[in-house]
Structure formats: C-alpha cells, structure tokens
Amino acid sequence: MSLLAIAVLAAGTLAFRLAGPLLQDRVTIPEPLRRLLSIAAVVLLIALACTAALTQGYGFAGWARPAGVLVGAVLALRRVPLPAVVIAAAGTTAVLRLLGVE
C-alpha cells in the first residue's frame, strides 16, 4: 500500500461521509439503495474472507488454514468473544502444521 493509495482511499471515504451533511436539504437516499449498499459491504467481506481462507496466490492454500478458519467461524456463530475466535483459529492451524498437515 503506497501513501498515494491510502490518500485516495481516505479522500473517497471522507466524500461518502460528507455527502449527507452537505447535501441533506437537496437530496434523499432511496431506501432500496440504502439497503443495497449495506448488502454490498457484507458480500465483499464474506468474499474476502473465503478467498483469504482457501487460496494462496492462484492456488489452494492447503488444509491447515481453512480448517483453522472453520473452527473460528463456528465459534463466532456461537457468539464466542472475538479474541477467543482469533486464538482458536490461529491455534488450530498452528497445531495442524505442527502435525505435518499443510
């Protein structure tokens, strides 16, 4: 990440945040668009999680990493606090690698 990339991301993000306070008297956001934007955010996060869990470069990441992520996901669904989720995910992957699973 270069400084320029961070600056562009920061400027664009601020524009999204400032639009409401600046344009509130002239524009309203339709409800379907509002909802579409929040679904889009979840779609991106889940896609990023799945590609990061399953792939490395252009290929499969091996079994140890997705197994750890799966353990973390199950704990997260059971509303286990986040630090425990992270430690369980990393710990599972680490132990599997120690046992020779890649």
């Binding site: 664009g12 993000t13 929040s38 889009a40 889940i46 630090p83 990393a90």
Partner: protein
Amino acid sequence: MWRTLDRGTLRDIALVCLANSLVAVSFGAIAVTGGLPAWVPIVMSIVVFAGGAQFAALGIAMAGGGAVAAVAAGLLLNARLLPFGFAVADILKGRWWSRLIGAHLTTDESVAFALRHREPALRRASFWICAVAMFVSWNIAVALGTFAGGFVGDTAAFGLDAAFPAVLLALALPALNDRGTREAALIGAVVAVAATPLLPAGLPVLLALIGLVAAVRRPALLEAETAEGAVGAGRKVI
C-alpha cells in the same frame, strides 16, 4: 455532554470500543506480520478510519493485488457510509470544522448510537461520545497491534494467516441472519473463490458483487422494514 447520557448508554459505548479495540489490535498485528511497514496500518487507521475497508484493502494488498483493486474494494465497502451521513446530518449542522470532524468520525457504531434517541441533545451526545471514544481507542489499539506483531517471527508456524479470514467472518456473520444478504454473500463467495485461479489478485473479490444481482432481482428483499433495520443490518460490519 457526559451528563446528558445515561449510564447504560455510556457502558454500551465502552463495550463497543473494547470489542473494536481487539479487532484493531489484530489489524495492526496482521499488517506487520504480513510484511508491511508499521506506518501503513497506523496512517491508514487515522485517515481512513473504517475497519472493514481497512481490512479489505490490506487483504488485497497482502495477497499481491494492485493498489487500484485494493482502493476500489475499500471504497465499495465504504459506500454504505453514504446513507449513514444522511441519517446523522441533523447532528452535524454547525461550524464547518465540526461538520468535517463529525463526518470523518461517522461509523456504523456512532450512527447506531445516535439513532437510538429522538431528542436532539441525546442524539448529539450519543453520536459524539461514541465517535470520539471509538477514534481514540481504535487508533491506540492499531498502534499496539503493530508493536505486538513485530515480535512474531514465523507467522505461518503460529497460524496467523488463519486469523485474518476468521476476523472478517466474525465481523460479517451476524449480518447473514438476513436472507437476502445471505444469498448474495453465498453467490459472491463462490464466484470469488472460483475466479481466483483465473484473474489477477484483488479482482475476484470485486467480482463477488455479482451476488448483488440475486438481491436486486427480488425487489422484496431490498425493502428493509424500517430505517433502523437498515442501519442494524450494516451495524455488524465495522
């Protein structure tokens, strides 16, 4: 302003800040162990200040994706802040600098706390106290994370590459209670993983937005019951 809010609200704000601090520590640590210099996560946290987008840009950058893809993913994630700005626009009236600061500190959490109240003074107090507390705790925690990450040597042996996707899933899973969101996310994830061997890094995640077509084709799914419901759906995504 402190006196305006009841104890319960203040406690809830503190708990949200604490939970987010843990995410922030992992953000800093993952960035440093992924090979980025410590200033990248620290500067990014201060000037972007949006957890989901920070993780998205970081993940794509660490996977070897280009800066354009990383920035695009971050901006697409932050597009959801657009309606949030309108939701709290009444709070952010006044001098230009307080508008600017308030807008920069707008997050899913500060908007959610503002929307809990109808009375203007309470809305203002909830928004500002949550926003400032989040900004301070988030950035301190990111810096601590980069510090802690510096001590970890072989990240693969510690399984830290599993921590990043686990954090993302923990952030996004609560929003999947909603059926339309779940279908869109499932399609998007399958498309992204299937496209990874074929496309340059970063693009598969953006291609996941095809999943949105599933939500658009069934207009009923796009109708949230209330405005609060819409924010509630987004609130879990920091």
